[in-house]
Symmetry: C2
Subunit: 155 residues, 2 copies
């Protein structure tokens, strides 16, 4: 099945795992995101960042999360089916994202649960991990996605 075909709940199994390509984070990307969404000294300016607990320019945690989404969208986590979150939770920041870091994400299926009230869909729980080039985790999180079931895909 080509990755662009829609996938439904029944196409996944607990333990399935997807690995994304990498994206390299630049100083300009960090500054551009910060200016719009998180204008704090440690994300905007090298000199100002030295006076913070980070001691150097680091990316916003929200940008690490947004880039993780981008990686998983590009990897077609659900094939041609849109990735729609019901809940994101337990985001833990293990290390900051630095200029030059090469980010990858992985997602592992933890649970699959058809909806009791709406047979045309269900929920899929994933453990999502974002790592740098050294394989160190930057962020870990849990996603609960809304995924259509085969009943919804039927003509």
């Amino acid at each position: 099945m080509p990755a662009t075909e829609p996938r439904c709940l029944e196409d996944f199994e607990v333990g399935d795992r997807i690995e994304t390509d990498a994206v390299t984070v630049t100083r300009d990307m960090i500054r551009a995101f910060a200016q719009q969404y998180d204008p704090q000294p440690m994300h905007l300016d090298e000199a100002a960042a030295q006076g913070t607990v980070f001691g150097e320019l680091v990316g916003s945690g929200w940008q690490t999360l947004a880039l993780t989404m981008r990686l998983l969208v590009d990897a077609r986590l659900l094939g041609g089916t849109p990735i729609v979150g019901a809940e994101f939770k337990d985001m833990r920041f293990h290390a900051p994202m630095r200029p030059g870091d090469s980010l990858r994400a992985s997602a592992e299926v933890l649970a699959i649960r058809p909806s009791k009230s709406r047979p045309e869909r269900g929920f899929m729980d994933l453990k999502v991990t974002t790592t740098n080039a050294a394989g160190e985790p930057l962020v870990t999180q849990s996603w609960r996605l809304v995924v259509p079931s085969r009943a919804a895909a039927a003509p």
Copy 2:
């Protein structure tokens, strides 16, 4: 105390609440974020969005979260002290963000806990709610922030 003064753990009390100003979300903002971080049909293009479960163009949930951060940074949630997250959790998406929506955020202090191992800092738990102009919640979440204690601020 001016809002730009650093604030420390001892300056907050459970039940403290901050309300932000509003930001109006435009179609262009939604598309620009989506192109970089969440390039899916429901966030990129009106016509393509009509074929999705949303039936219209909606903002990425990650953009709603990023804008919430921006509102709280601008509101100087911690005065001049940087907002550093240890953990973000329990993000629930109650309604999508639409072009023209005017977003506000509020944060309420749920718990304050000095660190046992590191007296110079502690943790503050917040309930964060993002609403539209009608006051309907779009996203609710919980934050655990790392906040310096008075011991760290001492000269």
